[in-house]
Every structure is written in structure tokens, then in C-alpha cells.
């Protein structure tokens, strides 16, 4: 595991997400009522900033055209959507959110790409 310290937990309010850019990679970290989950920030539909989406349970709703994705698996919530998102292992230590940026994982190969 290759953990990177990202930010203090208070910087990501409950049920909101925040984007973090590292080089060409942009991730979105969400605070799902105290649990922190990380996905890549670009919606497979047309690149919508998922960090700005509304949270519904453990899913996020893309702010541009309303597609839903599960933050735990990166899978789209509707079967008809072919593409899925990469998720990143995330943990909290001493009030700091850590993400393993090298372990991005996609459950399903991105058929749309």
C-alpha cells in the first residue's frame, strides 16, 4: 500500500465531495457520514465533475445529467450504463484522510472508452 496524506477530515463536510488534483489525475473524495470514499472525478458520460454531485446513500449523482454511481464500487447504478469509475482505497488516520493513489481500481473495463 502506498498511502498519501491528502487533507484533514473537516475539509470535506458530511455528504459532500471535494476534488483533488495530482498531476493529470483528478480524484473526488466523499464524506459519506464519516466514511471517506474516493473515486476518479470525471463522469464517464461527458466528464461531469462528480465531486459536485448530491449523495444518495453511498451513491453520487452527477451534477450535469444525473447519472448515479456507487462510490464503493464505482459501478453505475443503472444497468444500462456501460461505463464505470475507478475507486481508490481510502482511510482516515489521526484526523487525516489518506488515499492510495497507486491502487485505482475499476470493477468493469470501461466499455465506453
Amino acid at each position: 500500500m502506498n498511502w498519501t496524506k491528502i487533507t484533514r477530515v473537516e475539509n470535506i463536510p458530511p455528504r459532500e465531495g471535494r476534488p483533488v488534483r495530482i498531476g493529470n489525475l483528478e480524484i473526488a473524495i466523499f464524506n459519506v457520514n464519516g466514511r471517506f470514499l474516493t473515486i476518479e472525478n470525471s463522469c464517464p458520460h461527458r466528464g461531469g465533475p462528480l465531486c459536485d454531485g448530491i449523495i444518495s446513500g453511498t451513491a453520487v449523482v452527477c451534477p450535469l445529467h444525473g447519472r448515479h454511481f456507487d462510490l464503493e464500487t464505482g459501478m453505475p447504478m443503472r444497468v444500462s450504463e456501460p461505463a464505470c469509475l475507478a475507486t481508490f482505497p481510502t482511510r482516515v488516520e489521526d484526523g487525516i484522510v489518506l488515499v492510495d493513489l497507486t491502487a485505482g481500481h475499476r470493477v468493469m473495463e470501461d466499455a465506453a472508452a
Binding site: 475539509n11 459532500e16 483533488v20 466528464g47 459536485d52 444518495s56 446513500g57 450535469l64 444525473g66 485505482g104
Partner: protein, 807 residues
Amino acid sequence: MPDKLVVAGNGMAGVACVEHILKCSPSFDITIFGDETHVNYNRIMLSMVLAGEKSAEEIMLNDIEWYRSNGIHAHLGVRVARIDCSARAVIDGEGRRTEYDKLILATGSSAFIPPIPGVDKQNVHVFRTLDDTRALLAKARKGLKAVVIGGGLLGLEAARGLQVRGCDVTVIHLMESLMERQLDSAGGEYLKRRIESLGIRVMLPRQTAAILGNGHVDGLRFANGEELEAELVVIAAGIKPNAALAREAGLKVNRGIIVNDYLETSDPNIFAVGECTEHRGQTFGLVAPLFDQARVLAATVTGNRGPVFSAPAPAAKLKIMGVDIFSAGSIDESEPGVEVIRYEDPSVGAYKKLLLKNNRLRGMILVGDIADEPVYMDWMRSGTDLAAMRRQLLCPPPPSDPGLEIAEMADSETICGCNGVRKGEIIEAIHKYGITTLGKLKERTKASTSCGSCAGLCERLLRAVAPDFQEETRTTLCSCFPFSYERLRDIVRGQQLKSVEEVLAVYGNRKGCEVCKPALSYMLDMLWCGNHDEDRSARFINDRVHANIQKDGTFSVVPRMRGGVTSPDELRRIADVADKYKIPMVKVTGSQRIDLLGVKKADLPGVWRDLGMNSGQAYTKGVRMVKTCVGTEFCRYGVQDSTNTGIELERRFENLFTPHKFKMGVVGCPRNCAEATVKDLGFVGQEGSWQVVVGGAAGKSVRKADLLITVETSEQALEAAELFFQYYRENGNYLERSYDFVERLGIEKIRKETVYAPAEEKRKLLDRLHRSKALSRDAWLERDRPANPTQFVQIEPMEKVLETQLV
């Protein structure tokens, strides 16, 4: 001469029995005495009246016209004081004698008041009648310290009702666990946690030793010496049958009036029904068996002495919205041969326990998830052999053929326990009145109008019996809630809920979605005039950062430019901002103002600060703009000062939110240069008057606005606008534009309830609007005081990461 029938007690069981008697043999001369002053009402729903979910009018069961048209002499507010059995007469509280051939005692029961010193103090109440409920409502107020003695069904419902009214409520219970008669200790523990999560304090076990205070109650002392402050006490410690009348008349009475299987008492001319009875050693506290009694007694009294009463297995449901508790049958697991199946998931607060004997369901406890209750009840009632289903007991499959299972129920089986409606009656009504929807069925038969738990059963019955059954279009807000937006609004208002998370936790699926969260956010803001817990996570991104998201994740900024009027100074600042922040496009919008497009989120506070202008709310469901024309100031045709009136209109409404965006226009003459007749609200200037028009559109659809009123002065026009505006805010469904709203309600109704409403109603509407307005503010002030520290900030990682490490 028809037989004289006298009924003592105008409550649920007595009147239900009379209804059956009228069906069997309408030839009695009937007199009913009731010592409450009200017509027969649904006592069960007093809990809902206390909690603000129903009004007193809504729970009436038989109106005065029912008594009149059935020739019943009703003496309301009159007590039967004595029975003269040998002379076959009753003597009422006013000393009158009324003779009978047959007498039915249906006196119900009274609240049991434990012998605690101090129970006679002021502000010590019981919760049994409509008058009790009204007395509680009159005293309940925000912050009042209320204590409910008794943690059973009634006590908990009373506690929730008082808490909803703003009281600070504590429930005291004698036992180790709540509702111990219906639940086991694990179930009681779940219930306790749920009740506490609603904000009600629970103290277990506590024995009240004394009620303290000098005249008025001011506290309680417990047996362990502990004391608790209290300004209001509600005793809900059980009930005792009203049997004194019968006892004094010499009838056989134990705890209740002793009746046999035909509901006959020890006097051949006297019968009894309801909670005042004792049958085979059992007394009653729930209505379902009493309705069975009512039917049996109707047969006995009308000379058809055949049907017998046998007490059904008890079933009880807690009627606190969001606290799902159901218990039925025998829950005694110590009985030999009883097997227990249990499931629990503490994270969602769900607990289920089924008790089986010989593969047949005998009892159940359902907490937190009662969706499968109808299936379990069917299994229990029909004694289904569950051997083959042992693996699926906890998640029973939905009935494969909904018609089949219901077809197997006997016609005499009760479908609606609360109102005592049997399967046979429903089928009869369906055929007789050609009922095709659940709504019509409810209207006709009263089935499913109380606790609602039999709605599924009713629907399946309809599906099986009605040839052209129509599914009701359930216009729920979204799949997170079983309610429509309007219903939710009533609940949120009645229950004083102040945050989206609270509404979701109590009434929804605890998740919420992009549909209900913004809708609830609007609702809370509108209802509490901004005096609520604002939750940014429940808002669409536009409302988190007060700008409109673009396809590339940047934002657009439209400053307020009241009435479309600007100044050289403002234009200069706009130009400077565009340069400084390298804004890709500056555009004049279709709404007479200027849009700066392509702004980065992190630049928003700076852009707003440098512009020094207010938010134009172009990103939200709120007040957009007032388009104006030049009017009398410059135009040669102008007959009204459209520009200044428009600017004033915009000032009055700006910063407020609406169910959908709200656009306005003000024009100085009927040439209508600023298109006021196709706006949500418009003023059209005439010689000496203004026409105020509403519900216009020229977007997805085109609609000419309806005339609300014609008035002489600008101030009158502004007031009419305020009335309509607030009325739409309060009654519009979220995402309902004014053009749909006006069509849905009709302009006549809107006029009657706004500009032509009684002065008092108008004043209230305006008061609420002005209160909201006073609390509202320019959203762009968050540039200096962000709602949270990273609202506009791009987070930088705390550690440097080499890009080569990334995959």
C-alpha cells in the same frame, strides 16, 4: 310499536353495533346516550390529532346527519346514571327516565389512574377523549417540560404528539422495557433507541412515588428518591373498564361486565359490547375484537342468536410515523414446542422475531421493518403450514398470485382491523358501487382509512374482484418517500421538522436523492422562513456555490441588475472583472442582464467581491429578474412608471426562493415591450391602473398570463404581487412553474385565496412573506463568510506525490 333499544355509550363499539343493527333490522326505536358532547369519532386517531397529522373534523365517523336520517335519538353530553332493571328503564344525569326493551351497555373504559399522591394536581392529564386531546393541545407549547407516565402504545403516542408540539418530553415507564406487553426485551431496546433518536427522553424502570407541586404540578418523585422537573404530566398507565353502572344495577361484573359468547349479560334484557366487557376472563384494549363483538351482538339483538364471539389473536401497531412497530399473536417463547426465528440488523434498527409451533406461525414482533406484515398476518390467520418455506421465513416471497391468497380468506374475515371492515363487505361495495380504485374504496367502506396497514390487502382484493381495477397514480415526491410533496409539507409543518436529514430519517429511506433533497431544502426554508438547519449537502451544486454549473465544470455569474437598469460604473467593474479573471465570454442574457461565463469555482468569491454587485440568482429556483421597459420616464406612450415600479418589485422579492424559478416583467403600456404577459408575474400599465397578471410563459410552452386583479396604484399592485408570490411559495409543488401552478389550481381559486381573501388571511400571507424576506440575504456575501472552509477552495494534497508513481 317498535321495540325500544337504548344504548349507553356513544363510542366506537356501541355505534358500530348500531350500524349493524340498522342493516339487519331497521325497525328499532333507538336512543343513544353519550357522555361526551361529540358525535362518534375515531378514538384511535386522537394520536394523529395530537401530532397534527389529522384535524378533529377528519376523525368524525358518524355525523349528526347520520343519527337524524336513521331516526336515532341522540343525547350527547348526557350520562346514563342508573339502570332500573326491574322497570326496564335508564335514568340519565338530568333525572329523565327512558324505557327500554333492550339495553346495550357500550360504556368503554377510562384511563386507569394509579393511586399516586398528587394525581389531582393541575396540569395532570389523561389521554382518552377528544376533550382530553384538546386540553393537551391547549397547554402544549415550545419548551414545556412534559412527562408521560407509561411506556405502552398510548403513552408513546402521547409523548410523540407532545414533542411534535415543541414540548420537551420524557417518558417514564414502570418496567425494564417499553411496550413490554407487545415486545420482548430486544424489541423494546430497539424501540427505545428509536424513540430517543426522535428526541424523546426515556427513563426505565421508574416507579412514580409522588406528583409534586403546590396546586400546579412542578415535578415527580420516584420510588428511588430521584426527582424530575415537570410542568405537564400525562398519565397513560392503562385502562379500566367502565363497569360501575352495571355493577350498581346488580349485573355480574368482574373487572369488566361479564358477557357470554352472544354478548349477553346476566340480565336477559341487557347486553354489553366493547371495552366495558369481560369475555371468558379477558378484557380488551384494541378495537379489532370489539368490532367482531359488535357484529355478533347485532345478530343476537335482532333475533338471530347464532353467531358467537371468540377473541381473535391480538395485533398491535404503533402509530408514530417513522417508528415501525408491529406485534401480533402470542409472543410467549417459553411455551413448550415454540420455535423462535430471529433476525436483527442494528445498523438499520431492524429486528424481526417469528414464533412458530408445528410449523405454523403463532406470533411475531416486527421492529423497524414491517413491510412483510400482511404476508405474516395471512400466514398466521390461515394457519399455513410453513414447513416448505422454512428458508424464506425472514424474507417471505411476495404472493405469486395476489388473487389466490386473498381468495382463500373467508368473507367474514376482517380486512381493516381499525374500522372493522370485513372482506365480504368490501366485495359487496366493489360490486354495488363499481369501485375501481383504492381511493373510492376508502371513501365507501372506510377500510384502510385509519392506520393504513391494510392498504395492501385492500388493493389485492380490488385487483382480484374489480373487473377494471386502476392502479392509483401515486404521485410520491420520489422513491425515497411514500408521500407526495404536499403530504410531506403537511407532515414537516405539523411535526416541526427542521432538517433534511431528520425528515429523511423519520419519514424516508434515510438516503435521499437528487430529487427529494433539493425539494426538502426548499420546503424547510419556505416553511421556517430560513429558521431551519441549512444543509448544503442537500443542495444542487448551483446552490452550494451560488453560480450555474457549465458543461466543463466552470460556472457562470449573473449579477443582479434590477429592472435591467445598469450604470457606467457597474459596466466598468464588469469589464475589469472580465479582464482580471480572464473570463472567456461576457454576454447579454435573454433576461436583460449580463452573464460572465466560464468562471472557475475558486475564482467565484473574488469575482463577486470585485463586481460589488448582488447575486442575480440565475442559478437557482428563486427570484430571477424583473424585466422592465422605459415607461413614463422616456417613452412617448408610457402611462405608468414601469422602470421604477419594476425595480421596487425586484427589491421586495430578491434573495427569496420559490418552487421553481420566478421571472417577472413590468411594462408601461399594453404594447408590452418587456413581455410582462408571458412572465410568472407581470404588471401591465394602463391609463390610471395596473393589471397584475400571473402564470404566463414563453419557454418550453407559451401561455398568456391570467389576470389576477386590476388596481389603481403601484402600491396596490405590489401588494397583489406579494400575495400571489407568497401563495405560490407555500402551495406550489417543488419544480412546478407558475404556469402549471395557475392551471392546476385555477385562477378563480387563486384570486379567492389571495387578493380577494379575508383581510386576516391576507395579513397572514404578507406576514410570512415579510418574515422570510427579513431573514433572507444576498447569497454572494458568502464570499467573505463561506458556509464551510472549503466551499470554493481546491484542496491541495498535504504530501507531494510524484506523477511517475501514479498508474
